[in-house]
């Protein structure tokens, strides 16, 4: 399997603080890769660096092509698409308008034509509207089409954001904590949603998450990060039982690990007398 996304010696530092420390890995076509790790491990920073939002050293290659010096919007046009933790989108636009902004990649806007509204540009707008409507329908958002983004709940915005990401015909999708801000029962519907996204696009998905059942259930491969470095790389089962990962991240409390799913125990744990912090 040839590598679709290659990251080579990628490093990010803020002032004196090293957030990402010479990370290298490669991801192939149609893989779903989960990224786990404690906070401060550098997961979101890694995503921002790959997507071009944070300056970094090292190389990022998409399908063999070096994109390390490209601006974020360029990388997006090449098929490297990221989501945002807060799925804030554009508060002043409606859902349909957001989707149409995303369609401006597939059906580009020609500035001069748009300034005078030529018939050609008007046709293009209708085309964008059609394509947007189709995607909204596929994800059950038609009833929200004229609602302002500012009026939606996080879950609905998350779906809308995925619709926008889809419009870009992504080859690699970077999903930054897609379950953030969602209630438990919405989280349990995420795998279904993401599955449909993968079906439609055939994209490779990289996923940062803290909700372990979600990550482990979705991913074929998991990377564990700590302090900006990859400390484990393997199948979910392998990584889950890796001693380094256990020590740095998972700990031993089953309730803390299994955020969704049946509670592991209903008994209150006995209070232990702590001798140290």
């Amino acid at each position: 399997m040839s590598a679709l996304l290659e990251v080579e010696d990628l490093s990010v530092s803020f002032g004196g603080l090293v957030a990402v420390d010479s990370v290298s890995f490669a991801v192939g076509e149609a893989e779903v890769v989960g990224l786990i790790g404690p906070n401060g491990a550098g997961k979101t920073t890694l995503f921002e660096a790959i997507a071009g939002f944070t300056p970094s050293r090292g190389k990022v290659r998409l399908d063999g092509e070096d994109i390390s010096d490209l601006a974020p919007h360029r990388r997006s046009r090449m098929g490297l698409v990221r989501s945002f933790q807060d799925a804030a989108l554009f508060a002043g636009l409606t859902v349909r308008q957001c989707a149409m902004v995303a369609q401006q990649q597939a059906v580009p806007v020609r500035t001069w034509a748009a300034l005078v509204r030529t018939p050609g540009e008007r046709r293009a707008e209708r085309e964008r509207g059609r394509r947007a409507d189709d995607l909204l329908a596929a994800f059950g958002l038609t009833t929200y089409a004229d609602a302002l983004i500012a009026e939606l709940s996080t879950g609905t915005r998350r779906v809308c954001e995925l619709v926008c990401a889809l419009s870009l015909d992504p080859r690699v999708l970077l999903l930054d904590e897609p379950s953030a801000g969602l209630a438990q029962r919405e989280v349990e519907q995420l795998p279904d949603l993401l599955g449909r996204v993968q079906e439609i696009t055939g994209a490779t998905v990289l996923l940062v998450e803290h909700d372990l059942p979600l990550v482990l259930g979705l991913s074929s491969r998991v990377l564990a990060l700590e302090l900006g470095r990859v400390i484990a790389d393997g199948t979910p089962e392998q990584v889950r039982h890796d001693p380094e990962v256990q020590r740095s991240y998972l700990g031993g409390d089953p309730n803390a690990i299994n955020r969704s799913g049946k509670p592991a125990t209903r008994r209150r744990r006995k209070l232990a007398v702590k001798s140290s912090g």
């Binding site: 404690p38 906070n39 209630a183 509670p263 209070l271």
Partner: protein, 251 residues
């Protein structure tokens, strides 16, 4: 226990953002010494309710009382002085202040009583030794878990009688959450009343005896936490094994 004055009583509280009503007749009681969980769907109004309880927002109707005292119209700083302290959601540290300055900010209301400040500082550092080794580090350079400890530590400088915690676990690794939960359990055992807002039912229930479930601004359930788990209409939990099987086709 029912004869004792409740730590917190919220009665018929309504709140609106401008024209939009967001909380509808909230009734909620936290008995002294209890640990209570406030759960709910996203956008249900949990954080809004906390803000109203703390005085950051003004309710349109209703009453809030703290250990029997009516605090509905009191400003936030007076509520803090009365023992009501919240650890806000989203890692509420002051990123450009050092760890020590962050903790001292918590002691601002009694900043003139130096001995007391020193004493409380020592207590908090005893509870979170990780902070003690990084007193001069700037808040923003701490990891997420340490920042949450710092936020909690700052709240503890005030020795609250009622501690409100908004989203303890958000974005934190399980091993860190375990640590924090343990600390909160101990605090509760030592007599601090706790109200915990959480997304994760499981985390909240590992701590609380009583639970409230908020949905779209109304209380849909209020009672023993154990009973909440069985309410499938509210908390539709899915067995983990079943979920893995269903997802098998996508990995």
């Amino acid at each position: 226990m029912t004869d004792a004055v409740p730590a917190l009583r919220v009665e018929a509280l309504d709140f609106s953002y401008g024209q939009v009503q967001v909380l509808f007749g909230i009734d909620l009681t936290v008995e002294a010494g209890e640990a209570v969980a406030l759960l709910g769907t996203n956008g249900a109004g949990k954080s809004t309710l906390l803000k109203a309880v703390c005085g950051l927002l003004r309710p349109s109707t209703g009453r809030v009382s703290l250990f029997g005292e009516d605090i509905t119209t009191m400003g936030t700083d007076r509520r803090v002085a009365a023992g009501l302290v919240q650890v806000p959601g989203g890692r509420a540290t002051f990123p450009s202040l050092t760890v020590e300055e962050n903790l001292r900010a918590g002691a601002w209301t009694f900043r003139r009583r130096r001995a007391l400040v020193a004493e409380r500082l020592a207590e908090v550092l005893d509870l979170f030794p990780e902070l003690g080794s990084r007193l001069d580090s700037v808040g923003g350079t701490l990891s997420g878990g340490q920042q949450q400890m710092l936020a909690l530590g700052r709240a503890l400088m005030l020795r609250p009688r009622l501690l409100l915690i908004d989203e303890l676990s958000l974005g934190l690794a399980p091993v860190v959450v375990e640590r924090l939960l343990e600390t909160v359990r101990q605090l509760n055992a030592d007599g601090t009343t706790v109200l915990l807002v959480e997304q994760s039912v499981n985390i909240a229930l590992s701590l609380a005896t009583t639970a409230y479930f908020l949905e779209r601004g109304t209380v849909r359930f209020g009672g023993p936490a154990a009973e909440l788990v069985d309410r499938d209409d509210l908390v539709r939990s899915v067995f983990l094994d079943g979920a893995s099987a269903a997802l098998g086709g996508y990995t």
